[in-house]
């Protein structure tokens, strides 16, 4: 891309790859932080999953122990920018599942902590649930994931390095 085409492009079009990069790094960081906060205590993560009372017991350890590692791996994929669209879609699906889980826990009158960033499980007497905040946060992240799936081509990504400079114009 030479200087003359750069000047002819509207500012939004020029800003989009940078916005995409920003969203990608933000979403990736959130996944890594969320995964890291659970990975040190897998037993707690398993209890947090069990507290939703959705999954059959045989599936609970797989989800409880696998989720923290999945989140970290997904975060790393997004941060390095490898298969960004795929990562964004998986993020969106995961977040949709989380939202559904929290809404269902709320609807069934369970009193639990979502365990989103570690912790989780039954709340004690006098502890307030925070379903509204938790759902709002996940919906915000879901919107970011959607935007990233729509515009995955950003700067500083492995995808861009693989596809090479010839695709820059139409990426």
């Amino acid at each position: 891309m030479n200087t003359s085409t750069l000047l002819r492009e509207p500012p939004l079009r020029r800003a989009l790859p940078w916005l995409s990069t920003l969203v990608r790094l933000a979403l990736g960081t959130v996944w890594i932080v969320a995964g890291a906060s659970k990975v040190a205590d897998l037993a707690e993560s398993v209890r947090a999953v069990r507290a939703y009372r959705v999954l059959p017991e045989w599936a609970v350890p797989t989800v409880g122990a696998g989720l923290p590692f999945l989140e970290i791996a997904l975060g790393l994929l997004l941060v390095v920018g490898f298969s960004v669209r795929f990562g964004a879609i998986v993020s969106g699906l995961l977040l949709a599942v989380f939202v559904a889980g929290i809404v269902s826990a709320s609807a069934r009158g369970l009193s639990i902590d979502c365990g989103c960033f570690g912790g989780g499980g039954e709340l004690g007497a006098g502890e307030e649930t925070a379903y509204g905040t938790e759902v709002a946060r996940d919906l915000g992240l879901l919107a970011l994931a959607g935007a990233l799936a729509w515009w995955p081509a950003g700067r500083f990504s492995v995808d861009r390095w693989i596809s090479g400079p010839q695709d820059e114009g139409d990426a």
């Binding site: 897998l42 122990a65 590692f69 669209r85």
Partner: protein
Amino acid sequence: MSKQNRARAVSAEKLARRRAAERRKKAMIGGAVAAAVLVAAVIIGLAVYNTRDKAPDQFAIPRGATANTVVVGKPDAKVTIDLYVDYQCPACRQFETQDSAALDKMVADGTAKIAYHPLAILNRFSSTEYSTRASAASGCAAEAGVFDKFTKALFANQPPEGGAGLPNEKLARRPARRRRSSRSASTTRSTPTGAQRSPRPRPRPV
């Protein structure tokens, strides 16, 4: 449009189509690799969880206890009552204060034995993981042959939820005097040194 130009346009279109197909292929392969990475992550998580799960078996089991329980009463008693207790749990305390006389009677006349399962489920209501410390200390009490008495003492002095709980020094204090005679053989083997051993909290029971 001249013939030449048309030919050029067609070949440009072909090239663009080929490029698009190549991009799609790359994206598919990338997606497959990324999916494999995520699946591998889940498998690693499960493997880590399963190996970690076996750790508690490697701890020295106190005398008069099994890996999960401390049994109070005659081993040949017909009925076994399983009690799952967290020393910080108010409901457990209530049960203990209301029904311990009846339980003691059944244990004393050999009708029943009690299998205690000390649990740590209420650590988050303690700033010092009191549930873990108390249940770990109960293992030392079992080793010293004073589990029953220790349990009664801890429920009698149960700290409120949300606080620091009893300090380790207090948990480790040797009971003044033993009363019960219905205890198993471990009582006779226990020594004052055994009773004074400081309870070192072990990792949270799973």
